[in-house]
Amino acid sequence: MRKISVILNLILAGILLAGCSDAGSADSDECIKLRWVTYDAGSTPLDAKKVIEAANKVSAEKIGVTVDLEFQSTEKINLMMASGEYYDMVFTSSWVNMFDKNASAGLYYDITDLVQKETPALYGSVGKYWDCAKVDGRIYGVPILKDMGAEDMFRLNSDYFEGEKGMEIPERMSFADIEPYLAAYKEDFPDKYPLAMDKSGMAGYLNFLERIVTPIIVIPYDQEDEVKAIPFWECDELMERYRLLHKWYQAGYIHPDAATIESAATDKSYPVRTGVAWKGYRGYSNPADWGFNVKTSIYDGPYISRTSEQGAMAGICVACDEERAAACLKYLELLSTDREFRDILGYGIEGTHFEYLDNGTVYRLPAGADRYNTKLYQTGSVVNASVESVSRTFLSDPNQWEAVYEGYDENGIYSKAGGFSYDPSRKEDIITALQAIYSDYDAELRTGTSDPDKVVPEIRKRMEAAGIDEVLDDINSELKAFLADGGM
């Protein structure tokens, strides 16, 4: 309990101090300085200060807005939101700093009218994706255009599988199709484990479900007649995958201690890894990174739902006045329309951190790779930034996004829930208990360590005792009303 009281004390101290200090007012007369807190994706880039300074010079001149950009961890952002600290703009999404929860709680500025009035170019560029930022028909955040659908893929050592074993790696396969590859490797190397796995499970292993209460209550994409939220154990596809994983675990394709291993990222010997990206993504395939050639094979997706579209967003603080809120929007607009400016926050300072290659893509220089290696979604529009090539010779397609977005329109598997979101605050005590129950089993389930046919009935029994039916009824009656209204 000491931990909790320490946290409480920290908040108290933080707030008392924040109360005294000047809550982020304008720096000088003409420039508005915004406090923008973004997700740090693990670490703060070392050269962040320099890069932000360079970006501020440009943006001050162009729109009279500068930013004080902070990279913070999920826990810090959650704490900041829960304690009512002041900020202007914050990273929010369906997986870090939950957008739906915060927007329903009234923490974000309603930008429905402002965005159309002040920043028509931004409004136009986001287009149909505004829907995922709506709660009760009002817009509370700016979706950052990136890969909007989830595509899950296997990343295979093609030198081994294609070169040595003569197996073919297709562009698409099903989840179960990976089995012969695992078996072939295990036969050659009985002491090794072919499938990279740690306690967080395979990358994006739940992406093929729309998650209403992550990861317990879901809506499968392929529901035939009635669209309904169901508990995860009623989803046959998921259960089938858990069974397969358990089979692979027993066959020795997965490390016996996978459920307690923190990360399998550093061990590069695994011939089969998993990843979530988009068609044409080449970041996984640089042979210089791995020591062998890598081929990806997509097994899921692209699944497009409210959850996947909310992969990265910017929320504006409800305590902002209209001027500051408009400044936030203008800044986001500049990031979405001015490629050269966008590349500064995305890749750093040209010549120091990155350089442009002849085909228009970007190559990170060693200083950039070490000292400013951020993910694009952390700092604004991904689509408007230049595409990165992983080496000078291994080039990416500079126009990859057009093909990706076309792919969403043509092959995308769309959610039938039509952008439904659920405000968990009414049933928070039950959901909290459910999360605690789930966390007693999750790591062993997703790594294949435990037998789903034994464990899942147990989870079900406990969750039913904790009142999951009450939550399901609540969600489904809301969902029904929402769909009857014609969705968004």
Binding site: M1, L8, H255, A259, T260, C317, V318, T432, A436, Y441
Partner: protein, 312 residues
């Protein structure tokens, strides 16, 4: 001694007060001032960004009575969680007193200073390791493939054990780990108390023909009595709290082990990690403190009944 004059006493008190001032300021700042935060436990905390905490807590948040406590009751595992918490704490209560006292007595009786110093150092050292490191050291022994214990089992022709999936061993493993880590440190406290015992008591006991065990039984233990009672009463106060590191980090949060490793703190952490709900955490912590406080007062009364001088 010459009787103090009034002025002297006052001056002496003032000096002592001055010396304890920093501690008192610390207590007021960090223990009494934040007490208003207890209100968190009975409020649905809905802050408005940019407002001060007091406004957010008292004006912007609704009173919800005992609603914040309901998530604790929602878990069907609660009886087991409470059982685990009490089970380990009661065992630690006993081992945390018997073993250090025994060790302290033995060490003070050892004549070789080098041996005694060596044993002290070796037993105190683990106390300074963090639980995370202890957890990974243990993993080095118990890992399924590369662990030392399984290497040994295989060497003797036994099958390897999946330790992190076998809950039956873990009550013992956790208790042994806790003993290994804390015994040395508590021992130091008792050694100090033993050194303070008047040597002439032992001398007269020896003259009366007392052997080693008689001296322990009739001199050392009675002299240690107040120290033991104080430590006992204090540990009873935290009977619903548990060492989060021991129960979460050491078993590496392994799912299979949760029936034997889940204590109240672990449950609260797991339930609230993703939610960052201060009201719930405050409720849980309030409950622990209240139960602890009641038990502490009870224990104190009982101890006082048994021996008038040993209470607090």
């Amino acid at each position: 001694m010459r009787p103090h004059r009034r002025k002297d006493i006052r001056k002496e008190n003032r000096d002592l007060m001055l010396m304890s001032l920093p501690a008192m300021v610390w207590y007021i700042l960090f223990c009494y001032l934040p007490l208003f935060g207890v209100a968190f436990a009975f409020k649905r905390f809905t802050p408005v960004p940019g407002k001060s905490l007091f406004v957010n807590l008292f004006a912007n948040s609704k009173w919800v009575g005992l609603d914040n406590f309901s998530f604790l009751i929602r878990s069907s595992q609660m009886p087991q969680i409470i059982f685990n918490t009490l089970f380990y704490n009661l065992i630690f209560l006993v081992t945390g007193i018997v073993l250090p006292v025994f060790l302290a007595i033995v060490l003070t009786e050892i004549h070789g200073k080098h041996v005694s110093g060596m044993v002290q150092m070796v037993t105190v050292l683990p106390y300074f390791l963090s639980w995370v490191i202890v957890g990974y050291c243990l993993y080095g022994f118990l890992a399924t493939n590369e662990g030392q214990v399984n290497h040994m089992l295989r060497f003797f022709g036994e099958g390897a054990v999946q330790w992190y999936q076998s809950p039956k061993y873990w009550r013992v493993i956790l208790i042994l780990t806790e003993i290994w880590k804390t015994t040395g440190y508590s021992m130091v406290i008792y050694m100090c108390a033993i050194t303070a015992v008047d040597r002439s008591l032992y001398e007269s006991a020896t003259l009366d023909g007392a052997g080693f065990w008689d001296k322990v039984r009739y001199v050392t233990i009675p002299q240690l009595h107040p120290t033991i009672s104080t430590i006992f009463i204090l540990s009873v106060g935290s009977i619903l709290a548990s060492d989060f590191g021991l129960f979460y980090q050491v078993p590496l949060d392994s799912n299979s082990l949760q029936p034997v490793t889940q204590t109240l703190d672990v449950y609260v952490y797991k339930a609230l990690m993703q939610q960052a709900n201060f009201s719930y955490s405050a409720a849980a912590s309030f409950l622990q403190s209240t139960v602890g406080c009641i038990l502490l007062i009870c224990a104190n009364t009982v101890v006082k009944k048994i021996d008038k001088d040993s209470g607090l």
